[in-house]
């Protein structure tokens, strides 16, 4: 289970609304490489992960991704809170506004709704960890691209924190992959699915 903690993992205090930035940052809430997808990817994969240490890693990183989703939503909320109708229209946020007003809804920058098709839980330890490493890199690239467009240091600061965490998670998942491989035959790590083919036989079968 989880308990709610009344604090952000990293502070967000944005004094100036900016619809243009909010429109693109929302992609890290509900976009293909966003924090919602990240959290559900790792938290779904962990149940069948046969190596306890790696299941712990998926749990901890999946939990941290939920905290990142909260940071992204706090950024978008503060960027949009006091916008005027004129600013909403001029920025093109009006197409979002008609459906959601200034509520938070998980979508990509393009307007595509959040979809579980952007993530995978394959039931194969190696496949999943390679997916996870790629996911961290894709999220890092997305933060890099957001930072190309955003000048306000109050917005850049938490985005830079989130970017740095993608790199740390990439490193940890790489170590998780190594831990899995340490349990396997080094002559061919990819000959079997360690989650399915190494199961202990049932009693009596």
């Amino acid at each position: 289970m989880w308990t709610y903690e009344r604090s952000l993992q990293y502070p967000v205090n944005i004094s100036k609304p900016d619809a243009q930035s909010a429109k693109i940052i929302i992609t890290q809430f509900g976009g293909p490489d966003g924090e919602l997808a990240a959290s559900q990817r790792y938290l779904s994969q962990r149940y069948s992960m046969p190596f306890k240490q790696v299941a712990g890693l998926l749990t901890d990183i999946g939990t941290e991704e939920m905290a990142h989703m909260e940071i992204v939503c706090a950024i978008v909320h503060q960027l949009t809170k006091n916008l005027s109708l004129e600013e909403i229209k001029a920025s093109g946020l009006d197409t979002y506004f008609v459906d959601h007003t200034l509520g938070l809804w998980p979508q990509a920058a393009s307007g595509t709704p959040f979809s579980a098709t952007v993530l995978q839980s394959k039931g194969d330890a190696i496949t999943d960890l390679v997916e996870d490493m790629a996911a961290e890199q894709k999220a890092r690239t997305t933060y890099d691209n957001l930072l190309r467009f955003i000048d306000n240091p109050e917005v850049r600061d938490p985005l830079k924190f989130l970017r740095a965490r993608e790199i740390v998670h990439f490193q940890r998942f790489g170590e998780g992959l190594r831990i899995v491989q340490d349990h396997l035959n080094s002559k061919n790590f990819y000959a079997i699915n360690p989650e399915f083919d190494l199961r202990k036989p049932r009693c009596g079968s």
Partner: protein, 85 residues
Amino acid sequence: MARASREELMRNYQVMCFYLDDITLYLQTHPTDQAALRSYEKFKQLKKEAAKEYTDAYGPLHSDNVYVTDRWTWADMPWPWERQE
């Protein structure tokens, strides 16, 4: 000494939480790193102190730590996603 602001105490708590989170993650893949194990113990204590300091001055961080008067106060304080005015 002037009373520390909500922002200062929250920042201190966030810093301690972050140290602890990052070391916890590191320990998942380096379970025998003695220096990291000592850091874990150190920041576990510092986080506990920072949480107490914040809670005593500005209210609970968790709903199982609400000081009960004659009404429920958990929702009285600002939520973390709101800008600190």
